[in-house]
């Protein structure tokens, strides 16, 4: 879903770049509240992993493919604002692979970074509130939120296209096509996200930001048999 240069006019692209830059500044401030030595490499790994999985296009319909966007995955692993930053890092690197336009970088950071990570994480958090408070709920909620986030990103692109599309074509048809195909891609996004979150939960549940309420920090865990220990 990388927007190339030319789809959206220069003014709209520049406006999106300014908003994206502001978003990055806010994300840095929000993330700085809890970023520590342990989380720095994990956030780096999350970005690197999203880069890798974005290369794995899967078929969704005749002659059409899709790939992970990764905003919700990153948001659940490292937090919504940090997740958006992870996707922004991926998009900057991808520019050197000529994937996603240079003038379109702001548009892409908004759609694939902020809309998926923040919007998708809000859905994830809402689902966790209504689902039982257990590990399997985290996996189910991550899959559904990830799937929905792809449609949110498609809607964000549609909005940008409606404002600054460089050709005059019927918008209703573009809307239906964007939502339709991205609902299909969302299924793949949901499966990959749920599988990855499930994998991390099974080996290191304490590293999953979106499940931090389910684990207690090691330092606070009483050791068995240590109660009233030797003094």
């Amino acid at each position: 879903m990388h927007i190339p240069d030319g789809f959206i006019d220069a003014g709209t692209s520049a406006g999106a770049a300014v908003i994206a830059a502001g978003g990055v500044a806010v994300a840095v401030k929000k993330t700085s509240k809890y970023m520590d030595d342990r989380r720095v490499p994990l956030a780096g790994l999350t970005a690197a992993f999203v880069f890798a999985v974005q290369m794995l296009n899967f078929p969704v319909a005749a002659g059409t493919s899709g790939h992970l966007l990764g905003g919700v995955l990153a948001a659940i692993l490292v937090g919504p604002w940090a997740g958006a930053l992870c996707v922004a890092v991926v998009l900057v690197v991808q520019a050197f692979f000529a994937d996603g336009g240079i003038t379109a970088l702001g548009l892409n950071i908004l759609d694939m970074g902020f809309v998926t990570a923040l919007g998708g994480y809000a859905i994830f958090a809402g689902l966790r509130r209504v689902l039982p408070n257990e590990r399997s709920s985290v996996i189910v909620a991550s899959g559904i939120a990830a799937g929905a986030s792809v449609v949110l990103a498609a809607l964000a692109f549609f909005l940008q296209f409606a404002i600054g599309g460089t050709v005059d074509i019927p918008l209703g048809s573009v809307f239906a096509a964007m939502v339709g195909v991205h609902a299909l891609i969302g299924v793949g996004e949901g499966v990959i996200t749920a599988a990855t979150v499930g994998l991390v939960l099974s080996v290191r549940p304490d590293l999953v930001y979106g499940a931090r309420d389910l684990t207690t920090p090691l330092e606070l865990k009483p050791r068995l048999g240590a109660a009233g220990g030797v003094s």
């Binding site: 520590d36 690197a48 296009n57 059409t64 096509a177």
Partner: protein, 112 residues
Amino acid sequence: MKRQSSTRLFLFAGLLLAFALVLFVSPFANSNPDGLNRVALDEGFADTETDHSLGDSPLADYEVSGLNNEGISKGLSGVIGILATFALGLALFAFVRRRNESDPTQVREERP
């Protein structure tokens, strides 16, 4: 201490998995246009795309220029991309961490 080594192992395993995915799975990835490009083709705005200013980059289109084998070229470009993303991510989040004023592990300069 045990947790620290386990976190290192987790990082190592995560990067290894990412490398394995781009080296061994990405050559078999579907090469059809993605959702947005499909819509652009069907709805008639695909030709508004302009040339990418980094289209001549040695890594353009996930190919390492000079390598003829398509699969190896793509896989290697992925490895380079993973390392670049990891490095840029570390740099950004290390910068973010330095702004974390509440972190008790933060080593601060003593003010006179």
